[in-house]
């Protein structure tokens, strides 16, 4: 790594050399790999199998070249391009080109999230909890923990790269391109691992460090999304994004390796930066010194709701900003969706009969809203899970030892979750509309955009209800709704592509929501989702009132 082993200066007997900045690296690496062996295996297998499944499903759903060309003309729409890639090979859309163009983005987002969380878990979170002090007090070099964490990420991403290459080859795709695609995914994961090593130097909180890392991921996604929509095969904006670099290797079309050199250079630069930053700070400290707080609380800080709001308002603002920027940027492509119709009519007149111009715009809005709602759902799940964090950290004990009942405390936590989710849905709808207005599209109206987003509230409530029900009865499993959301993400991104039976798609609460403004409004599913959410919440409260608090 960057912190090059400063060669033992002078000519001391080598058996007596004092340790370098990397002393203890091997032990730590083995320890990290052991701690993460199950977690990382699950990540690697999921991503590898996603590729295998996509390659097989695509081959089943689009058996002939004509089928695939029809798919190519659909995927060229702005909404699909944002969620896919720069569109190499659209003129001869082979199975490999399909996998590279449509699946790689998902896999890269997944490895990026995995890598960011992995680095933060092993570095900043360890410092935050004080465990790092125990380790650093041993015979362990200054840079050893961060280096070991980065090497752990390297092992994980290499495993994913090789496994993806193997499984794609196994699905019958070209060997070199399969492994190139796997390598691109793995290297992109490492870029974000390096990003996280830097963000861990900046802030004292693990949560803030991973948040910053995810902001960088969001920016990388957005840059290449805008670039790819602006221009087929990407504009200069696409070349500012690590995700863009990986997509620019043109796997299965006209493979080139050199864009990955940009990723490797970025990794080296980021690691050099982090080692320079790390040398300037103390263990446990961030670069910014903590500020003093109030000696006395504001009069408003007198209820569990005020406390929960105080705890979460910062993250709500961050989520709002992220979703707002993403929605506004997406909204500016509404007119491009309209323009598509003209181009497509030339290639394929049948399509114009299937979709009118307005349908395409509405479809675009619906698809973008679905995507934004995934973000809102992620906030809602994370926010509801804070209750468990308060409990396991022991912070809930002094509160429940006052005159606050369990119902009131959990209700206050969830009120913040609910208010936050409503705010974020409104931000998504309004920002999308403002993006559309900024390029001169006034149909759909602002109200329609907002309705398209807010109509998802019952589905988000079901996800929260699931967290609460598990929290009330089986608190150890309360994180399970993340799996449901990941599944909802796959359904939302690929929908019919994956060739899943309807009942399986229906496992995601988001799937039941009418896709406004394109589809007709249908109250039935919304009433059903609301009833389910209420039942789950009620069950959760009953369970939480009955059970022992988890004490550590």
């Amino acid at each position: 790594m960057s912190a090059t082993l400063t060669a033992p200066s002078g000519t001391r007997g080598d058996h007596r050399t004092t340790g370098g900045p990397l002393t203890g690296l091997g032990t730590l690496l083995r320890f990290f790999l052991r701690r993460d062996r199950i977690r990382l295996s699950v990540w690697a297998l999921s991503i590898g199998l996603l590729f295998l499944y996509a390659a097989t499903a695509f081959a089943t759903v689009y058996p002939t070249a004509a089928d695939r060309q029809l798919r190519a003309s659909l995927i060229a729409s702005p909404a699909a391009t944002m969620m896919a890639g720069p569109g190499y090979g659209l003129e001869n859309y082979t199975l490999g080109a399909m996998v590279a163009n449509e699946m790689t983005l998902t896999a890269m987002i997944a490895v990026a999230i995995m890598s960011i969380l992995l680095i933060v878990r092993h570095t900043r979170t360890e410092e935050e909890t004080g465990r790092a002090e125990l380790v650093r007090a041993g015979v362990v070099g200054r840079h050893a923990p961060a280096t070991a964490a980065f090497l752990t990420a390297t092992v994980a991403n290499a495993a994913i790269a090789v496994l993806s290459g193997l499984l794609l080859t196994g699905a019958g795709l070209a060997v070199v391109d399969s492994f190139a695609l796997g390598a691109a995914v793995g290297v992109t994961g490492l870029v974000f691992a390096a990003v996280a090593v830097v963000t861990c130097q900046l802030t004292e909180h693990g949560r803030a460090a991973s948040g910053l890392g995810l902001v960088v991921l969001g920016a990388a996604f957005l840059l290449r999304a805008i670039g790819d929509v602006q221009e087929t095969h990407g504009s200069w904006l696409s070349w500012l994004s690590p995700i863009g670099w990986a997509q620019q290797i043109r796997a299965f079309v006209d493979l080139r390796w050199w864009p990955l050199a940009l990723s490797l250079a970025a990794i080296v630069l980021l690691l050099l930066l982090s080692s320079a930053l790390a040398a300037r700070r103390d263990v446990g400290a961030g670069l910014l010194p903590p500020r003093a707080g109030r000696a006395e609380a504001l009069p408003s800080l007198r209820s569990p709701f005020a406390l929960a709001w105080r705890q979460q308002r910062g993250s709500l603002v961050a989520w709002g900003a992220g979703i707002g920027v993403m929605a506004f940027a997406s909204g500016t492509f509404v007119d491009a969706a309209g323009d598509m119709v003209g181009e497509m009519a030339v290639d394929n007149p049948v399509l114009l009969e299937l979709f009118g111009e307005q349908d395409l715009v509405d479809g675009f809005v619906a698809a973008m809203t679905t995507f934004l709602v995934l973000g809102v759902s992620a906030f809602a799940i994370a926010s509801a899970l804070r209750a468990r964090g308060e409990e396991t950290s022991g912070r809930v004990e002094p509160v429940l030892a006052t005159t606050v009942s369990r119902t009131r405390w959990l209700g206050a936590q969830l009120a913040v979750t609910g208010i936050g989710a409503v705010i974020l849905l409104l931000v998504a709808g309004v920002s999308l509309a403002l993006g559309g207005l900024s390029v001169g599209v006034s149909d759909p109206s602002l109200g329609e955009y907002v309705a398209a987003a807010v109509v998802y509230l019952p589905a988000v409530a079901v996800l929260v209800g699931l967290v609460v029900a598990l929290y009330g009865w089986r608190p150890g499993l309360a994180g399970l709704p993340w799996v449901v959301l990941a599944f909802g993400f796959l359904i939302g991104m690929f929908g019919g592509l994956l060739d899943l039976p309807t009942w399986a798609e229906g496992l995601s609460p988001l799937w039941h929501v009418p896709q406004l403004p394109g589809e007709a409004f249908d109250a039935g599913p919304l009433v059903g989702l609301s009833a389910l959410a209420v039942a789950l919440l009620a069950a959760g409260f009953v369970g939480f009132r009955r059970r022992d608090l988890v004490t550590t």
Binding site: G293, R302, R395, T403, R547
Partner: protein
């Protein structure tokens, strides 16, 4: 105070059982905190002190046994009872983005009335800077935050779980004063600890538990026999007369350069007569050590220890 203070005990636990899975944390525990008294709750780590306190606070549900807290049921009446008590956890965790002052205000407001003068006085006595963010506090300072929040509240009962484990000796004496004031005001205190000296200083009654079961309880005077001092002395004469003294236990004698070295435990009530005997024997040097909790526990756990260590079974 909404309810008149009566002479019924603040806490009365009989035959309390609580298991976590197959592990029995509490196995027939008895505990009484008489009204207006300071009750010591002694036991080694893992003996069930914190579990008992969490049952008292309604955070855990008892498997069986009777538990009365301020005349009510700690599980069913938790909210109304909590108006009349304040709690200091053994391991204080605070909200990282709140300052210590904000945490104190929040906790006291959630309980009811706030007395700003009392809060300011306590902050000064405990030398606590309320503007620092909770994450920058040491363990001791986090404990002070919880102590100030509890002591600033006008409540009938204080439930304190090893409240001094992070305090330095100076702050411990401030804490001792505060508890004596609380007692003088006629309030009740449940004080869990593993430091015998602290309990001796403050408590009227003591309950000693091990492995989730009460092994000794009573007033300090009743337990006086448990508190023996260890005396080491060198005498010029043969210390044979000591062996017959009823207050002397576990006598060991060995030859020393200038006489005989003796080591024994003495019941605190008998110190005066034993010292007289020692003087008659011609004391050349004398050391007296207060009884430590370790020795107290050794007496209770001695059977297990000697089973583990055959060399120690004499």
């Amino acid at each position: 105070m909404s309810t008149p203070r009566t002479s019924q005990p603040a806490v009365k636990i009989h035959d309390l059982h609580k298991s976590f899975g197959t592990v029995a944390a509490l196995d027939g525990l008895d505990l009484v905190v008489p009204h207006g008294q300071v009750a010591g709750f002694l036991g080694p780590n893992g003996s069930g002190k914190s579990t008992t306190i969490r049952v008292l606070l309604g955070l855990l549900r008892a498997d069986s046994g009777s538990v009365r807290l301020l005349g009510g049921d700690p599980w069913a009446d938790a909210v109304t009872l909590h108006r009349r008590l304040a709690y200091v956890p053994g391991d204080v965790n605070l909200w990282p983005n709140l300052s210590g002052g904000e945490a104190i205000d929040l906790l006291t407001r959630l309980r009811g009335k706030v007395d700003p003068a009392r809060r300011a006085e306590l902050l000064e006595r405990f030398e606590l800077d309320p503007t620092k963010k909770a994450r920058t506090y040491s363990k001791g300072n986090r404990q002070k935050v919880a102590l100030v929040a509890a002591l600033a509240s006008d409540v009938e009962l204080l439930v304190l779980d090893e409240p001094t484990s992070g305090l330095d000796p100076l702050m411990e004496s401030v804490f001792t004063q505060c508890i004596q004031e609380v007692k003088a005001e006629g309030r009740s205190v449940l004080l869990s600890s593993h430091i015998l000296a602290e309990v001796e200083k403050l408590c009227d009654t003591v309950t000693i538990i091990r492995a989730g079961r009460t092994v000794q309880s009573g007033t300090l005077d009743e337990l006086r026999h448990l508190t023996r001092s260890t005396i080491t002395a060198v005498t010029t004469h043969d210390p044979e007369t000591l062996a017959g003294h009823p207050g002397v236990h576990d006598l060991v004698a060995e030859p020393a350069t200038d006489g005989t070295r003796v080591r024994f435990d003495v019941d605190n009530d008998d110190v005066a007569t034993v010292l007289r005997t020692l003087t008659d024997l011609g004391v050349r040097s004398l050391q007296a050590a207060p009884p430590s909790l370790e020795e107290l526990f050794l007496r209770h756990y001695g059977d297990e220890l000697s089973a583990m260590d055959p060399a120690g079974a004499r």
